[in-house]
């Protein structure tokens, strides 16, 4: 029995808030109702009575007999909970709201892969008797069942119950060993590799995502293992480019060493930011940039060969000859990673040594696609249902890599960089970032699946989604809807057509240029629509609707007719030029109405229209080109009805 187990389970009773008929069922319990429900649930699941009682007494008065026997455990858990709960509010009311962060939220509070949260807990934890890795299974089931539930709806929707449980457990793990807990945030610049690669195989980027993702998990797991800590307790969230850990401050050096080795394997830079965790304060302690050694410079000329993909110099003994030519070890594993993990649900284990399917030579760790005892970390990749998680007892990880479909020529990329950065920059960065990481893959993929019939994911993970789509207009309509709503965490959307091999690289290069904006880029048409211009376009039509009959039909047609005039607005230097452009624009309104058989504009509205055009003339090129695109893809009505957030 240790405090980690109790910390993990201490708020499990909060699940009952999502079942009002049960939550209201014990009116005699006035205070700390969730702790009482937690105890009942654990007893029902067959946990030992002392575990259930300890969960009950992590809140409120402790009876003397428990105080004496379990004082240390209760004290560690309460302290961990207090450190992590600076966001705590009151906990009385039942709720049906799922977790929500920066406006992003799933449709309803369900398990991560579609089940009922309470049923998932019951199915997943009922079979605990005789289980060797109880805590690992509890983490897996807690993640599956409580990731999309809020920790405390009264204090805001933005902290996942699972993230709070994990943060409390990892802090307890540090405290019970007498260590000071800190938040370590790692960010790798893995995508820079794809910039230099001559990609003749489009799997390179998918592989890079997996290679980087497993590499980060492996580096953290190895460092934690060397410190005698359980990786699945301390790794709070991971993406192919980030890691968020709660670890003892004393282990930061070991982590840094592991990351150094990983960077040598990945061939890219990383940064490590360490922050204090003191009652909700995430004060920065230090930052470190990790730069891998230059491989080419250290090689004697006679022994130097060049990797076909990344162009790096590589020693003959470290190079691998393939049918595609000579590859460095990194590129070899990057290209081959998707083969082992593409598509279907897979179990994986991260192990020490270099004999796995994906190997990190410098780090001396590997990934195998099986469940292995004694592994540093194990998981189930992309489970299709909550039942799969319950059955395996392994922690679910969502990073999907799919095969290329050669017939689907439209590519849609949605980047989430901005929302992740916002979550990190605000209050409670650990919780908000980790909650966003849990939400994003599901939100993005579900949203796209809902609005696009023929699409296949090339990859989706918390950092971005890349889809191949059969029909371009479907991609544009879905992307415009995302841009209207702004509630699925996208910061940029790129749509492009072309042959997969070449387009894939260009897609990534283009995405890097736009990822800091909320923008839709239709690459082949040279159209760039910012979210702000979409709002302006919508407001323009709505304003005109107030005094021109049928403006919603008229304005898009005027916009298309006026596209040739619009450059004159930018070129107009003198007042005469501006007046001439204005006169042409106004004329196009009446001529379009007449030609299209739409209601004619009467005299009074004409004067209002003239004044309105004069007021908006500087913005008209963007407004009209946006409206013309909306009209082309039949999205004007969507824009007018969109619920802007």
């Amino acid at each position: 029995m240790d405090s980690i187990l109790i910390a993990l389970l201490h708020d499990i009773g909060k699940v009952y808030r999502y079942y009002p008929e049960l939550w209201e069922g014990f009116p005699q319990v006035k205070k700390h109702r969730h702790a009482y429900f937690g105890k009942l649930l654990l007893l029902q699941l067959g946990f030992r009575e002392e575990v259930a009682e300890l969960v009950r007494y992590t809140h409120g008065e402790i009876p003397e007999e428990y105080k004496e026997k379990y004082e240390e455990i209760i004290s560690v858990v309460r302290r961990s909970d207090r450190i992590d709960s600076s966001f705590r509010g009151s906990e009385r009311a039942p709720t049906s709201d799922p977790v929500s962060i920066l406006g992003l939220k799933p449709e309803k509070a369900i398990s991560l892969h579609g089940g009922d949260p309470l049923e998932t807990i019951k199915n997943g934890l009922r079979t605990l008797k005789g289980e060797k890795n109880i805590v690992e299974r509890i983490v897996a089931i807690m993640k599956e069942a409580t990731a999309l539930l809020t920790s405390d709806p009264q204090a805001g929707q933005d902290i996942s119950l699972f993230v709070h449980a994990m943060a409390t457990a990892s802090i307890a793990s540090c405290l019970q060993r007498g260590y000071k807990p800190v938040l370590a945030h790692v960010e790798v610049n893995a995508e820079e590799r794809s910039q230099f690669a001559t990609i003749e195989r489009a799997e390179y980027l998918s592989g890079l995502q997996l290679y980087s993702y497993f590499g980060l998990l492996a580096a953290a797991s190895k460092a934690l293992y060397l410190m005698g800590l359980q990786p699945y307790i301390h790794i709070i969230s991971a993406t192919p480019l980030h890691l968020a850990l709660v670890i003892p401050q004393e282990s930061c050096g070991v982590l840094e060493e592991s990351l150094n080795l990983l960077c040598s394997d990945l061939g890219c830079k990383a940064s490590l930011r360490v922050r204090a965790i003191e009652d909700g304060d995430f004060r920065r302690i230090y930052e470190k940039e990790i730069i891998p050694p230059l491989r080419r410079a250290s090689l004697p000329l006679s022994d130097r060969r060049t990797c076909r993909y990344c162009g790096e110099g590589v020693q003959q003994t470290h190079s691998i000859e393939t049918t595609d030519g000579i590859l460095c070890a990194s590129c070899f594993f990057i290209c081959h990673a998707p083969k082992f993990f593409i598509g279907a649900t897979k179990t994986f284990s991260i192990v020490l040594g270099c004999d796995g399917l994906i190997t990190y030579k410098n780090l001396e760790a590997s990934v195998v696609n099986e469940r292995r005892e004694g592994a540093l970390l194990r998981g189930i990749l992309n489970p299709k249902s909550s039942e799969e998680v319950c059955e395996s007892g392994l922690i679910p990880f969502d990073i999907f890599v799919g095969p290329l479909i050669k017939d689907y020529e439209t590519w849609l990329l949605i980047s989430c960089k901005k929302v992740l950065l916002s979550a990190l920059a605000g209050k409670s960065p650990l919780h908000r970032f980790s909650t966003a990481v849990l939400l994003l893959p599901h939100l993005l993929y579900k949203e796209m699946r809902k609005s696009i019939k023929n699409c296949e994911p090339i990859k989706f993970d918390p950092t971005s989604l890349i889809l191949q789509i059969r029909e371009k207009h479907e991609a544009v309509r879905a992307a415009l809807r995302c841009l209207h709503r702004g509630d699925i965490g996208m910061s940029s959307i790129l749509i492009k057509r072309g042959h997969p091999g070449i387009t894939f690289r260009k897609l990534m290069q283009e995405s890097r240029k736009i990822e800091d904006k909320e923008v839709l880029l239709l690459k082949d048409e040279g159209v760039e629509i910012l979210r702000e211009s979409l709002r302006d376009a919508r407001a323009f039509i709505q304003d005109l609707q107030q005094f021109i009959e049928g403006a919603a039909n008229l304005v898009p047609k005027v916009a298309i007719r006026s596209l040739e005039i619009l450059p004159e607005i930018y070129a107009a230097e003198e007042s005469i030029d501006r007046i001439l452009v204005k006169s042409k624009l106004l004329l196009s309104f009446v001529v379009t109405a007449r030609d299209e058989g739409l209601p004619l504009i009467s005299q009074r509205p004409k004067e209002k229209l003239s004044a309105y055009i004069a007021e908006k003339i500087e913005k008209l090129p963007i407004i009209f080109s946006t409206i013309a695109t909306l009209y082309k893809y039949k999205c004007v009505e969507d824009a007018l009805n969109a619920d802007h957030k």
């Binding site: 003198e574 007042s575 005469i576 007046i579 006169s583 042409k584 109405a593 007449r594 004409k606």
Partner: protein
Amino acid sequence: MQIINNIKEKFCSLLQEKKFDEASLFIEDVAKKLVEEKVPSSPLRRMRDLVVSLKGEVSSVDRVYIRSELLGLRLEPISGTIANLCLTLSGSDLEKLIKIVQSLENFFRFYSGGE
């Protein structure tokens, strides 16, 4: 009514003084006035075509012909003012005059219904 009448006169006097930027500020109101007076659209269209034809290489004979055509439009005082200007204007001043006349016709068509 007096004020509106003055707009046309003010517009023409600014054109005569070659203050084209100032004159441009009155174009829309002048067009509205012409619509109110139920002026037909054809003289304005003809005036625009004639002024635009001054672009490029134009001989003095052409200019005299264009002037005579403008005087025959009976859009006083505007047609007379422009007829006088077309004998002497060239370069950027002529460009400005062309833009003013084009704008005048566009605004007129806008307020009169687009015919």
